[in-house]
């Protein structure tokens, strides 16, 4: 792209950084410049040619941060919650009125060194330029009373930008936190949000993370999550983020010690012009860990969905129990779903199951519903909802379950 304004001047402008950090950033910028935006020749991007998608959608791009303020925030009213507000990736404010405040540490994220060099050009770009984000640390022995909503706002003036931010969540020993990451994009323009997130679960801790969108959006999102799980910790991801022009969520989860559990559950309804990829890498590095992944997609119009799921089992990770299933329904001949399951197993005493299926809605089921007076459209909607509800049913809290069901309903109705 001719008008790609990404250069080292921006790194020079970052205040108060050590020379070590500066070198790290410059090195990553060089790596990004050499590679460019990832294209389909990279194995990890073979179904999402980001370079091509960007040149089809952007004439110019720069990476300078946008520091606009947000004037009105529509808080969710469906359930009581704590919140963190991010505006264009910047930590804006937070509220933990329901909790013991001394157990919680929330700060703008600033440390940006000591990361491994990545083969993913988007991560290199993030390492080079990320200035915003948050760091959330929960002390030991603290169980949150209410869910935490992270409002991820984008203001109306974000246009032709690539915003890089970095976040970190650390849950202390025996602690538990439930998060809903709620993206609300008020910009009608196109932009890219490129984030990097570190997640650390210490011994016996629990984290539930639910991703969902307020409404349809013109944003292009890439997010890489590196999670590290220690002894007997429990990590659960719900992904309901539909309605985005482009979204790639890349979850790279290390089960470092025994008895850890990692669950990744997703129900997505994709419509016109939407492109969504879930990429996972669940790495069993210790014995007696469990992982469970179930990804369900319904694709309508000319949407495109991708699931690239890898399960890696190290030689010493005996008694691993890993499950992975991807199911997709295509409602239209122009819709496309690609799935690439991958197992890499070096231990011998393990239980690994994986499967993947895609096809159109079952005509016999449609006919059954239609003989009861429902038209084809309503029958399709009912079957689609039924297919996706299977995932929603995993949500324990009744009010959050209801909230997600309503959002899914909105998505199915094209909102």
């Amino acid at each position: 792209m001719q008008n790609l304004d990404i250069n080292s001047k921006q790194i020079d402008n970052i205040k108060k950084i050590t020379s070590e950090e500066k070198n790290f950033r410059i090195k990553n910028l060089e790596l990004f410049k050499t590679a460019g935006f990832p294209n389909k020749r990279l194995e990890d991007w073979k179904f999402s040619d980001f370079s091509n998608i960007i040149s089809n959608n952007f004439n110019k791009l720069d990476a300078k941060s946008v520091s606009s303020n947000v004037n009105k925030i529509n808080f969710l009213k469906d359930f009581e919650h704590n919140y963190i507000i991010l505006v264009n990736g910047n930590l804006h404010s937070s509220n933990f009125d329901y909790e013991k405040i001394n157990k919680i540490k929330i700060l703008p994220y600033d440390k940006n060194t000591n990361y491994r060099i990545s083969k993913n050009p988007m991560i290199c770009l993030n390492h080079a330029l990320a200035e915003n984000g948050y760091s959330l640390e929960i002390d030991e022995n603290y169980k949150f009373k209410k869910v935490l909503v992270i409002y991820n706002f984008f203001t109306p003036d974000v246009n032709n930008k690539i915003l890089n931010n970095k976040n970190k969540i650390k849950i202390g020993k025996n602690s538990e936190l439930h998060v809903i990451e709620y993206t609300e994009n008020q910009s009608k323009f196109k932009f890219i949000n490129n984030s990097y997130e570190d997640i650390i679960l210490e011994k016996n801790s629990k984290l539930r993370n639910l991703y969902i969108q307020g409404r349809k959006s013109n944003g292009f999102f890439h997010k890489y999550i590196k999670s590290k799980l220690f002894y007997n910790s429990n990590y659960l991801n719900f992904i309901f983020s539909s309605g985005l022009k482009f979204n790639k969520l890349d979850i790279d989860c290390d089960l470092e010690e025994e008895k850890c559990t990692c669950n990744i559950l997703s129900a997505l309804f994709l419509n016109k012009n939407e492109h969504q990829e879930i990429k996972t890498s669940v790495n069993h590095l210790a014995p007696n860990c469990k992982s469970y992944q179930k990804i369900k997609n319904v694709l309508s119009s000319d949407s495109k969905g991708i699931f690239q799921g890898k399960v890696y089992v190290k030689a010493n990770a005996q008694k691993t129990d890993a499950y992975q299933l991807s199911k997709a329904i295509l409602l239209n001949d122009n819709a496309e779903f690609n799935s690439k399951p991958e197992l890499e197993i070096y231990a011998d005493d393990v239980k690994c199951t994986h499967g993947s299926a895609s096809g159109s809605l079952d005509e016999n089921s449609l006919h059954y519903l239609m003989t009861r007076g429902l038209n084809r459209e309503d029958s399709t909607k009912l079957l689609t909802k039924g297919f996706l509800n299977d995932i929603v049913e995993f949500i324990k809290s009744p009010s959050i379950k209801e909230f997600v069901k309503n959002k899914l309903e909105d998505q199915l109705n094209g909102h």
Partner: protein, 244 residues
Amino acid sequence: MLKIKNLQASINKKLILKGLNLNIKEGELHAIMGPNGSGKSTLANVLSGKSGYEISGELKFQGENLKEISVEERARKGIFLAFQYPLEIPGVNTNNFLKTSLNSVRKAKGEKELDALAFLKLVKEKSSELGIDEKILSRQLNVGFSGGEKKKNEILQMKILNPNFSILDETDSGLDIDALKIIAQGVNTSRDKKKSFLVITHYQRLLDYIKPDFVHVLSEGRIVKTGCSELAQELEKTGYQKLN
């Protein structure tokens, strides 16, 4: 009510119904018997409007050409099919489904939609008549239902939608004796001068409880014999062999 003339139906290039004639008047109950694979369910599917069949001949329901009417329109006009193998629909709550179904039929008829309370009252009444444990109605539609529960659920839908032409495709198969009686009673209490039935069965036993006006034998895609209820008893003794 229903007039079928020289009906031919094929699926995947295989001719299954080979010139079938049938005339059902208002208030009549017809039984169809016949060997496995003779085309009984195919006839039921064609009447329900299932896609995938190539059809020729005349199909008239209440004077209208059925071929031009979509599946859901047929349902709204009062055609009901109780399936031989009711489908399991995961993720769809049975009660919600029954309500959606009833209200779409009522709406089409220009009747007021039932609110949640009125609907629950109706379901309670009909399911207790049929000896259905209400608990299964809060489960996913037919998922994990026993064979008999599925069949009862079909008849419950019939009772709720109150159609004027019902096709029961082997609803009696797989039912225990008590359930059979209950279902037969369910059909009998629905019978009146305006309503017609087409009951597909393999067993004379059902026809002891539901008295048919006519019994037909369907064999290789044609009706080869028609008689009154005594024909069923005869078939029970002699089988279908002799008819050919």
